[in-house]
């Protein structure tokens, strides 16, 4: 799938750029990542702000890190956020994957458009409305699971975010490989497991990442449907208004970033090891 990229075009292009490559594409991408990371760098720098204010520099200090380490409320909020985002991502991505497979591969059937509409419904409603409506529903049926309420709500609104990239990938995906698999007497499960899934993986990864990011950032819905003991990090941050935000939040965000980078690096090192060991 990737070797064809390097094939250079010999016929055209002054500098013999390979087909499909464009001048300025990499500078554009660099500009893109500068745009993406400039605020993150600012945020990290300001986490060392000795000042109490988030936005005005008052000298270097690590007080906010020490404070964050001693703040059990904020730690609990971080854990709540991570638990909710992880569980919601796993479930939403699984549900969205199955749904997308049916909708993209099930041919044309009655109720397809309606199903599509239903799956994207959580996307189309302003958050505050979802928040109030879901809370009314939860209290009407007497559901009070604390963090469980939040997790269910998050699974619901994460489904379309996971669904869209997966479906986009499936649409028009070449089915010849799968047919080949079946011609070779692979069972349907085997075809799915060893042919469809690997082909679908980039879509699933993209979908899961979106779901995770959306869940980590949600504030209004969590604020409303959360029961006692379910304050998440965004809820904590948004509720600081009357006291004013402090660089403590930057410190926590920086640590979360570092943790995420550490996890993924570890994952890569591990997966590379297993890859090389299975190759032989």
């Amino acid at each position: 799938m990737s070797d064809q990229i390097q094939k250079p075009s010999t016929r055209k292009g002054k500098k013999m750029l390979p087909v499909g490559h464009y001048r300025g594409l990499s500078s554009w991408t660099i500009a893109f990542f500068i745009f993406l990371y400039l605020p993150i760098i600012v945020l990290i720098v300001y986490s060392f702000n000795a000042n109490r204010m988030v936005m005005n520099w008052g000298g270097f200090g690590i007080d906010w890190y020490l404070k964050a380490f001693n703040n059990s409320d904020i730690q609990k909020a971080v854990w709540n956020s991570l638990i909710v985002a992880t569980v919601a991502t796993v479930f939403a991505t699984a549900i969205a994957t199955i749904g997308a497979l049916v909708l993209a591969r099930g041919g044309n059937f009655r109720g397809k458009t309606v199903s599509l509409g239903l799956i994207t419904l959580p996307l189309m409603v302003p958050e505050i409305v979802t928040a109030v409506a879901v809370l009314i529903f939860f209290s009407a049926i007497g559901m009070n699971l604390g963090l469980g309420n939040v997790i269910i709500a998050h699974i619901t609104f994460c489904i379309p975010f996971a669904f869209m990239p997966i479906r986009a990938r499936l649409e028009g995906m070449d089915t010849t490989l799968e047919q080949a698999g079946r011609d070779l007497y692979a069972s349907q499960w085997e075809t799915f497991r060893f042919v469809t899934m690997p082909l679908l993986m980039p879509g699933i990864v993209a979908g899961a990442m979106l779901a995770f990011v959306i869940s980590m950032d949600d504030f209004i819905i969590t604020l409303m449907v959360g029961g006692a003991g379910s304050t998440t990090l965004p809820v904590y941050i948004y509720s600081m208004i009357r006291r004013g935000l402090t660089p403590e939040i930057n410190a926590v965000s920086t640590m979360l970033l570092l943790a995420s980078i550490a996890i993924v690096t570890a994952y890569w090192i591990l997966s590379r090891k297993t890859q090389t060991s299975t190759e032989h």
Binding site: P39, L123, I159, D217, S253
Partner: protein, 301 residues
């Protein structure tokens, strides 16, 4: 392994859709029906509703009672809705222009490096939106990251006043929703077979034609998914308009928020979101129809 699956295609179909139907049907559709019913009731003065039927919430969207209690046309709310659509449209366009080449660039990378790039796109979004938005205030603000060196070197001698402007809102919205554009486009581009490009090139297509006639049509599902994912949340956005734009003009998101908070008019909030929902659904149906017709035409040609 797959023995337990239903034998018929239809049975399997519904089994696959069952989890989505179950979760969204119960935890989203039912609550929305409740909200829909609420929008036809009278507001309880302190939040909630009274069980008395009323169309007042819908009338309020376009009309108001003047001082003599006469019903007159009031474009105020419609202006807010229109403005929000405009802004969302602009932000979606910016995300597309900025995001598409990057998604494409990532697919050009060797396979093992692609996930790394995708990960790079998502990392910034691990931090809270409010905090990221604050970082933009530091960057764009008076004497901030951009202005400070210009002021120090004497290139400018007064603030550029970049903050609290429509431009600042546009930057904020684009920044907030970029990954929602890049990831779906990447997901659909990633399967692009580059032999097609070679084939096109062999047929004397120039670079521009390869892009517009091969790459873009093939990535269309991703572009559409990305546009939907950016456009709709933008309609309800309120952090960027408030913090970067200075909140000087109400947007749809803040307006709906306002009805459930200060104004305590739940039916009106419900009615506004029903309106929004219908607009979005009608647009999507039209789009689906058009896509179907086109597919049918291409099929018969």
């Amino acid at each position: 392994m797959s023995d337990w699956l239903p034998k018929s295609a239809a049975g399997r179909r519904w089994l696959g859709l069952a989890p989505s139907y179950f979760v969204i049907g119960i935890f989203m559709l039912i609550p929305m029906v409740i909200m829909g019913v609420f929008s036809f009731l009278e507001p309880n003065p302190y939040g909630g509703v009274k069980p008395i039927g009323s169309l007042a919430a819908y009338i309020k969207i376009a009309f108001e009672y003047d001082l003599e209690d006469k019903l007159v046309f009031n474009p105020g709310y419609l202006n807010i809705i229109f403005r929000s659509f405009q802004l969302s449209f602009g932000a979606t366009l910016l995300c597309l222009i900025f995001g598409f080449p990057v998604a494409y660039y990532i697919t050009l990378q060797p396979e093992n490096r692609r996930n790394f790039y995708i990960y790079l796109v998502t990392i910034p979004f691990w931090t809270n939106l409010l905090i990221r938005t604050f970082a933009w205030i530091i960057i764009l603000g008076r004497g901030g990251v951009i202005e400070a060196p210009l002021l120090a070197t004497g290139i400018i001698d007064d603030s550029l006043r970049m903050m609290y402007s429509d431009g600042a809102i546009a930057i904020g919205l684009t920044y907030s929703y970029l990954p929602l554009m890049v990831l779906p486009i990447y997901a659909s581009l990633e399967k692009l077979d580059f032999r097609l490009l070679d084939a096109a090139s062999d047929l004397y297509a120039n670079r521009f034609e390869i892009m517009t006639k091969v790459v873009i049509p093939l990535s269309k599902p991703g572009i559409i998914a990305g546009c939907i994912l950016v456009f709709i949340p933008c309609l309800g956005a309120f952090i960027a308009p408030n913090l970067l734009g200075g909140g000087k003009k109400l947007m749809l998101g803040s307006l709906v928020q306002f009805q459930f908070a200060s104004a305590r008019n739940w039916p009106f909030g419900g009615a506004l979101s029903m309106l929004l929902l219908s607009v979005v659904i009608i647009t999507l149906i039209f789009y689906a129809r058009a896509a179907k017709n086109r597919a049918a035409m291409e099929g018969s040609a």
